[in-house]
Symmetry: C2
Subunit: 418 residues, 2 copies
Amino acid sequence: MSDLISLGKAAKKAAYTMALLQDDEKREALIKAADGILAGADRIISANDKDMEAARAKGTSPAMLDRLVLNEKKIGEMAHGMKEVAELPDPNGQLMETIERPNGLIIEKRRVPVGVIAIIYESRPNVTADAFALTFRSGNACILRGGSDAINSNSAITDIIRESLKGVRPGTEDSVILVRDTSHESVTELIKMRQYLDLVIPRGGAGLIRNVVSNSTVPVIETGTGNCHVYVDKDADLEKAVPIIVNGKTQRMGVCNAVESLVIHRDIAEKALPLIYSALHEKDVELRGDDTVLSELNGKGGVNPASEEDYGTEYLGPVISVKTVSSLDEAIEHINRFTTHHSECIITENKASAESFLKRIDAACVYHNASTRFTDGFEFGFGAEIGISTQKIHARGPMGLNELMSYKYEIRGSGQIR
Amino acid sequence: MSDLISLGKAAKKAAYTMALLQDDEKREALIKAADGILAGADRIISANDKDMEAARAKGTSPAMLDRLVLNEKKIGEMAHGMKEVAELPDPNGQLMETIERPNGLIIEKRRVPVGVIAIIYESRPNVTADAFALTFRSGNACILRGGSDAINSNSAITDIIRESLKGVRPGTEDSVILVRDTSHESVTELIKMRQYLDLVIPRGGAGLIRNVVSNSTVPVIETGTGNCHVYVDKDADLEKAVPIIVNGKTQRMGVCNAVESLVIHRDIAEKALPLIYSALHEKDVELRGDDTVLSELNGKGGVNPASEEDYGTEYLGPVISVKTVSSLDEAIEHINRFTTHHSECIITENKASAESFLKRIDAACVYHNASTRFTDGFEFGFGAEIGISTQKIHARGPMGLNELMSYKYEIRGSGQIR
């Protein structure tokens, strides 16, 4: 029996224990785990030092080092986040629907945890605490497979959490299990463990997600890729359009809900393009546009021709593609062709155009006159977020506690037969 | 470009058209398609004759021939089923939740179709009409891949439906596409067409389902395997237990919600076993039991020892395994070990034991004092059923129209930025 299978078995067993924990037990255990993280800050930092040293030795970029590093402040935020999740309402057992049948059967549809959730992620070690908090609060067990860069930090965090869970019911500590084998093979084996896992959530770059989606036999929720568009309609109010575009593109460049592409109606292009250009150019954003864009912004710096590939690129940096169209229909067709089904926005004062866009665009979140940056569990008021689903099965858009739940039907009878 | 890819493209396009159809348009189109089926009965029967001839020529069993054959009566039922689905309420656009944010954003969570659903099934040609009706009513496009045995029947049914859809909006006929290539390779290619498919639902035997689950890169809903248990608690009312067991086992043997295994508390075994034995033996059901069962029913006909494998077997025929236990906990542990997460039942007059069972058993449908045969979309009042999900992601238990839906967030603002 491989190590991973024994981990899977332990997690499955823990999932059955978890399903029995009361609201209070989970809340208190989570607060205790957060206090454990605070008390163990030195231990976490010294483990993190080892990761940082190894990362520096292999010439890791400053941006990646910044994601990897843990300090008192980050650890404090981690513990604070866990305590916030602890205070969220427990979705376990929530009554979703009652069906009373003519034969007297009472059918109750109630939320239950999914069971064992594997989360596969890359360098940021704070995901370890986040993912644990969300899965634990919702009554699930989790198997965490972090990246090799953060293995010492992830181990220290998981060890501390597991120690703090020993006071709860026996076996509860197995509700969080870290896969310490960070070889590529451990991912490959994990995502085929259908017998022990109910769900896999990959969090990370496109390569990781593609690998998991292509090879998993366990159900997967695909997260995170966002080639988000803003469509500036002919009836757009440019005083709304420009700030929404600038906010969407530049407030935080490296995130999935950042704007990557503009679509502009030709009737407003002459008026809109210079304003949009100035605002973005000031923030050092390069525009890659079609012929209309190039001729409207003739000779200006930071404007280049867009290739077909540009329209499908999630830059996650200071570049934006710009396409002009001659109708709302053409805009919708273009966006539905290049969308990653994340977040798409129309700027218009025309209600009918807005409604048509919201209905016809095939994305998790469709916006009228607001920034795509709001696609976020906290901004939606979920109080937490484990990722943003870009698929249509199970959960779509920001995933909070409810999205980590399944349901069951409890049917009460008095001897009914068919 | 392979044929399948062009089918996928056409279906994807149709899905966008479908999402625009109004409630009335869908209802009327479906009624028209049902009328087309009735009017085309001769054409369907003559196509079916070809399938029957080929099946007889290769020595197909009478039971399989019975599943394959279509006659006036079956065609009438098919059309009637389509009309019933036509009259179900349209889930499209249904408001599930409204979130008003302090910044003035109004976030509406609304049901939308999943998109393109592939359904892979075996010999029964009426699945073609059923699957079309359910996916169409819910605003989805479907790609149907039936078995080679029924290819002529499936083609005739699909052709008639597609002809009847030509009066609706252009392209609507591509909301139902039959894969006429019935090679094994066509399944293999289909379930990797992630770009065009949003969901795959396999309907058929365990081999088909395993193949789809193991090889699909498109999200799958696993359906249909049911190793359903009835647990006779020490506090059971045997006047309820016996009819529920007999109904569950014998009312229809070959279905997924039939009972395959009994678990009996030892305190009641002496009283219960002879009664259960008589009732089942009368229906020619063989019991395979553990040592306690064998000694209680010492020397009676149709009683044999159970192997470990028996407890994991979905017989779909006149056999039932019987296990005795010394506690509710042992019963729950045994069932959670062998369950296929479909339907499980406790017979008891003890409310606390019932509640503990309902909470702790990991299955889509958990019953107290009622037959597992009620796990069915019609019995739940859904008015339709495309299958019974045994997984925890997206849909669990009977799947009606709502379970073929995803959702999207429509967010309306007035210029909000972060």
